[in-house]
């Protein structure tokens, strides 16, 4: 058996009708939402112009221009491929430098949050778990606000978010631990720790001097994709490229963890080590999303749960489903957040909250025991 075959076999699930249609539908939804997102806004343009801007030869035939757009002036300049973007038409400039990156960042944020939620749900064997509910998002959020307030560089954001998320998760586990934990205890501890970190965030706000920074911080806390560009895209790409393959490779470990701690260890898994490594992976995914989009709630809860009801609990299939449905949810929610109220933009987290909150309530009403997958 060739190495290549083995890797492919380890990463990709059997595509059956259900999973294929989930992937196809989600992709179509993302593309459609992207077109809407790109066409409408302060600078309106007909679809024909959108089309021409997207496939503008000035961009596609000049690698240097493409590199400058995606990598940014600074990085492209250092690599010696910088080009002058002022030659581009207005439509192309708007599409390529403002609206497209927003969609791209939304895709990655959705994928990361959904994967993080799916992994947390397996680690805690609890379908109510999500980065938000386990306090990881709040911890990451607090760290990010600190970085914003102390005006350290934006490249610290993912690192700070990861550190804050880890601290919060460890705290939740410590609070919930009494010779083992139960799903309900974890959720309760998560809510408490989350509340504490949220208070700390609010407290830090009083040290913000400028109004602009204040507004950034507030919209960021609600989870916003307003004003994200290729810089944020680069920021979220690096961890994503690590998280996605790692999660797919780890799918079998997640399946075995779901059989319960005793059985997993009887099958030869070092449960604590594995759980620790997988938590780190999920925290990294959360941190990547939080660092660029702030606290976008409920994606990590709703997406894995909805996908699970369709494809079952096999983690390879579940994760692949999440990788497509997560982006669909976030990109569509961002269209609503940006264009739904006419003039005013609202944070995308408000929209996902309005969708996810009721879903969560429904779940609570229907679930009898908290750890039935």
């Amino acid at each position: 058996m060739s190495r290549q075959y083995r890797v492919r076999d380890a990463l990709l699930p059997d595509l059956d009708a259900t999973l294929t249609s989930i992937v196809a539908t989600s992709t179509a939804v993302v593309l459609l939402a992207a077109l809407v997102q790109i066409r409408y806004g302060a600078y309106q343009m007909p679809f024909e112009t959108v089309w021409r801007a997207l496939f503008d030869r000035a961009v596609w035939t000049n690698p240097e221009i493409l590199a400058t757009i995606v990598l940014g002036d600074g990085l492209a300049g250092r690599l010696g491929v910088a080009a002058d973007l002022s030659a581009l038409s207005d439509a192309t400039a708007v599409v390529w430098t403002m609206r497209l990156p927003r969609v791209a960042v939304g895709v990655f944020v959705g994928a990361n949050l959904a994967v993080a939620g799916a992994v947390f749900q397996a680690i805690t064997r609890n379908e109510l778990a999500s980065p938000y509910i386990l306090g990881v998002s709040s911890g990451a959020g607090f760290a990010v606000v600190l970085v914003i307030v102390s005006s350290l560089g934006t490249y610290f954001l993912p690192l700070a978010a990861a550190v804050g998320g880890t601290a919060a998760f460890l705290l939740v586990y410590a609070v919930a631990w009494r010779g083992g934990t139960t799903p309900v205890r974890l959720v309760l501890a998560g809510v408490v720790v989350g509340t504490i970190f949220n208070s700390l965030q609010t407290g830090v706000f009083y040290f913000i001097d400028s109004n602009g920074a204040m507004r950034t911080a507030v919209s960021w806390l609600a989870g916003s994709l307003t004003g994200v560009g290729w810089g944020e895209f680069r920021l979220v790409t690096v961890p994503t490229l690590l998280v996605v393959p790692a999660a797919l490779v780890a799918a079998r470990q997640l399946d075995v963890l779901l059989l319960g701690e005793r059985r997993a260890s009887a099958l030869g898994m070092r449960v604590e080590t594995m759980r620790f490594a997988l938590s780190a992976l999920a925290i990294l995914a959360t941190a990547a999303a939080v660092a660029v989009a702030g606290l976008v709630g409920f994606v990590g809860l709703v997406v894995p749960h909805a996908v699970r009801t369709m494809v079952g609990s096999d983690y390879r299939r579940l994760l692949v489903g999440c990788l497509f449905v997560g982006p669909a949810l976030v990109v569509v929610a961002d269209v609503v957040a940006r264009l739904g109220l006419g003039g005013a933009q609202i944070p995308v987290g408000v929209v996902t909250g309005l969708v996810g909150g009721p879903y969560f309530l429904l779940l609570l009403r229907r679930t009898e025991s908290f750890n039935e997958f």
Binding site: M1, A10, D255, L267, G268, M269, R270, G312, F373
Partner: protein
């Protein structure tokens, strides 16, 4: 009960049995197991002979399941040693241990969407590397396990649609797919109806007879234990009360001393097992 040669357990790092017990698959000496400060098991010698079916019997709270946890290295002993094929269980990595020793307990808890085949496939976990796909050996072991456990007809059925007994057979198949020489079972029949109790025990018996697998099973039903096991270990209050073939161990005295039951035990020449007729509970 015959005394076994004592082992020198002073040196923790390099354990060299003075006189290794060759015919024991599992051998525990001076075993002391505790939950926190609460010592539950304290027994001198406990032997699970190679290639035989050994049943641990005893009343509730006698430490049967705890002994099993000690044998499977799930619980680290406060004192004493557990040898698996002459080597301490703690010396092995989790994976090495899972290649030699399989474990099945009474609780079945798994995601309901999983099919029987998915579950059995997880039994191959210790045989596979991090990135390994299933190879021919794995497929063969999975087929064999499903066949042996008699769940072929349920292969593609989700676990959520199975009865308790069918589910237990699916878990038996998973443990069989692990393909170990030694199998520990913790009350595998407790929550099952009579039909499935017998089926589980027959699978275990077949496994032992055809593949020479050493079985150590905790059973609370003494009659069932006497029927299926080659050897019985009767536990009383965390210690070994008696050890030997069922016809030697199952006596009226045992039932009175250990189980607090006044019973008549008869052994007809035509039977291969003692017959127990309980009369009343003793104070």
């Amino acid at each position: 009960m015959s005394r076994l040669p004592l082992l020198d357990t002073d040196d923790d790092t390099e354990f060299v049995p003075e006189d290794p017990v060759h015919d024991a698959a599992l051998f525990a000496t001076d075993l002391e197991l505790a939950y926190g400060d609460d010592v539950v098991v304290d027994c001198e010698d406990l032997v699970v002979p190679d290639g035989e079916v050994t049943a641990l019997v005893g009343p509730n709270g006698s430490g049967k399941s705890t002994v099993l946890k000690g044998l499977s290295a799930e619980l680290a002993p406060e004192a004493g040693t557990v040898l698996l094929h002459g080597r301490r269980v703690q010396e092995r990595s989790a994976k090495e241990l899972a290649l030699e020793l399989g474990l099945l307990d009474q609780e079945n808890d798994a995601p309901g969407g999983l099919t029987v085949e998915d579950l059995v496939t997880h039994g191959r976990y210790p045989h596979r590397g991090f990135l390994d796909a299933l190879n021919a050996d794995d497929h063969a072991a999975i087929d064999r396990a499903i066949d042996l456990a008699g769940v072929e007809a349920l292969r593609d059925t989700p676990l959520s649609e199975l009865s308790g007994g069918q589910k237990q057979l699916a878990f038996v198949a998973m443990t069989l797919a692990q393909d170990t020489d030694v199998l520990l079972l913790d009350e595998p029949t407790t929550y099952l109806d009579l039909h499935h109790q017998l089926r589980v025990m027959e699978v275990v018996r077949t496994l032992n007879e055809e593949r020479g697998v050493t079985v150590c099973v905790v059973l609370h039903d003494l009659q069932q234990a006497a029927r299926f096991a080659d050897y019985l270990v009767a536990l009383d209050d965390g210690g070994v009360y008696d050890w030997g073939p069922p016809e030697d161990v199952v006596t009226e005295e045992l039932l009175a001393d250990v189980f607090d039951v006044d019973a008549a035990v008869s052994f007809d020449p035509g039977d291969d097992e003692p017959r127990i007729v309980p009369r009343r509970a003793l104070e």
